[in-house]
């Protein structure tokens, strides 16, 4: 009996930690790197000025069968008509240029917000795990309170009332995401501080605060760092969503959510390209960050 059952159980246990899908992780790495590169150089390599309209309003993208020929012409630098790879929008702006310039807004906001909340959250989580119980309780109850707020609406309120700048969006998202990191770090700190190396440091007569910062915290960061990738993805979605409803960055900043909103009226009339490409960019980017985070999680569990 047991010979039959044991392998089954082992198989089931392994499967709790996700089926293998390594190409997903590689895809995630690629997208994460691409988005970071575009965040830095995107606006510089854009073929057209992201703020100056071209002479063509709502020019559709070139037909698929023309793409190879046009690509060849542009690689060889041959003289040709101007090409708008993703078409132009209702203001005559080149969509391709704006799509690759937008990570300067979307990815930078998401990254900035998460760096702030990762720093703040892990320090608070550490404090909640090692400091006096009343401090820990205070931090955790505050996190509860912040998490009881409806995320999107609170984001809308804070960003709009504070002036709809990139800085306020970063701070707002940082505030909303901090409790996630507090929770993750605290629970990991609680297990890590029982470990032998902590006792060893204590036996050496180190100060408690020093032990917490140099021994406990670095060992308790893994879950927060894995979450980092996933939360950046969510922050991109939120940034785009906020500007989509008119409570985020201001036009004419090249930003994916704003571009989708600008094309929303055209899509009802069958002009799909102004909204399709920026949305595709969000879709691929956020999925990339999720896949990357998922891969990290599996590696960490293994």
């Amino acid at each position: 009996m047991s010979e039959v059952v044991v392998p089954r159980l082992a198989g089931a246990d392994r499967a709790v930690s996700r089926p293998r899908a390594d190409w997903l992780f590689r895809f995630g790495c690629l997208i994460v790197m691409l988005s970071l590169v575009l965040m830095v150089i995107g606006p510089w390599i854009a073929p057209y000025d992201v703020g100056r309209p071209t002479d063509f309003i709502l020019e559709p993208p070139p037909a698929l069968r023309d793409v190879p020929r046009l690509l060849w012409l542009s690689i060889t630098n041959a003289p040709r008509e101007p090409v708008y790879w993703f078409g132009t929008d209702s203001a005559g702006l080149d969509i391709f240029s704006r799509v690759i310039a937008a990570p300067r807004a979307d990815v930078a906001i998401a990254l900035g917000a998460n760096l702030v909340s990762l720093t703040l959250g892990s320090l608070l989580g550490l404090a909640a795990g090692v400091a006096r119980p009343w401090i820990g309780a205070l931090i955790m109850r505050t996190s509860d309170l912040v998490q009881a707020f409806p995320v999107f609406i609170t984001g809308m309120i804070l960003v709009t009332l504070a002036g709809r700048s990139i800085g306020t969006i970063i701070l707002t998202l940082a505030l909303l995401y901090t409790p996630i990191y507090v929770r993750l770090t605290r629970s990991e700190v609680l297990t890590q501080r029982q470990r032998g190396f902590v006792d060893a440091a204590r036996a050496l007569g180190r100060r408690e605060a020093w032990i917490a910062l140099t021994h406990v915290l670095p060992n308790a960061m893994a879950p927060a760092l894995i979450q980092f990738s996933v939360t950046i993805g969510f922050a991109i979605l939120m940034t785009a969503g906020l500007s989509f409803v008119g409570a985020g960055v201001r036009p004419p900043t090249p930003e994916w959510g704003l571009m989708i909103a600008a094309g929303a009226d055209q899509i009802v009339q069958g002009e799909w390209w102004p909204s399709l490409f920026p949305g595709l960019a969000i879709s691929i980017t956020v999925f990339g960050y999720a896949a990357f985070g998922n891969g990290l999680e599996r590696r960490h569990a293994a």
């Binding site: 809308m156 008119g246 949305g279 999925f287």
Partner: protein, 340 residues
Amino acid sequence: MVRFITTRLATTIIQLAGLALVVFFAIRALPADPVARLVGLNASRDAYLSSQKSLGLDRPVLEQLGAYLGIIPGSSGLLQGDLGRSWVTGSPVAEEIARVLPITLELITVSFVIAFLISVPLGMLCGLRPGGVADRITFGYSLFAGSQPEFWWALLFIFVFFAQLGWAPPPLGRLNPMSSPPPFVTGFITMDSLLAGNMAAFKDGVHHLMLPVLTKVFVLSGPIVKMVRQNMVRALASDYVLYARGSGLWPARIAAIALKNALAPALTLLGVLYGYILGSAVLIETVFSLGGIGQYAVRSVLAFDYPAIQAVVLVIAAISLFVYLALDVAHALLDPRIVS
């Protein structure tokens, strides 16, 4: 059990009270000038001051708080169940919210139920054979769907099903503007039209719900499938399933036993998800111009309508916290271990 519910209820109410206070002070601490927004930037100094006076913003903050809470004698506030009057329309906020809230609740509840009905069998199927083909495909789908901009998918669906195929109605509201809405009973269009026996309005209502619900189900199913699958795998690896197998029960019967134990912990997560969806319904409502509480929230925020903003946050937080509480109680009923 009674003690469990009482403590949870008390925590929820304290949280709501804290929330009301935080919202009140936060929106007043931010560098926004609602008076200037309401009277316009070119208004005279006198108009500005009189508007400030009529909104009560010239009073000290603590006095404003007293009026908001309703502890100043002669005023009616939160304690009397009064959410105040909108600064923009002048009508009671509670009435306005009662009109828009059912639209959102209808949309997300219908989407939730459908997503749940699709996800549970799917998650079960994957959980029964972890690592199999179905599991891999579903895993990819749930990772993908959980990370998508729903407002963009809504637009794509509009493009395909309205602009190209013509199956769906234009994304211009909850009902055809030409048809007359059923009398307001519950606020849920589908339910009201059935109550009034108005089959045409019912059909129209369902027709207009089609695309928003499709979008929501597409996005929502991802996390739910993942959750059901995870819990199912865990339940199938447990000792009671081993025992059931050893007793020679039918696989279908074993799956049913495991499912009950897999769904119980999923309930708590569903509560969290419901609250999250309620708070972010604004995106889908904006795309389809549904006029629910999400769009009401955007309107109030952009107009700096403080009473409406406070009320929206409070109402949405209250609903999510109570749904969460109800599902926690249901979880406790299914699994008595968590009460102790």
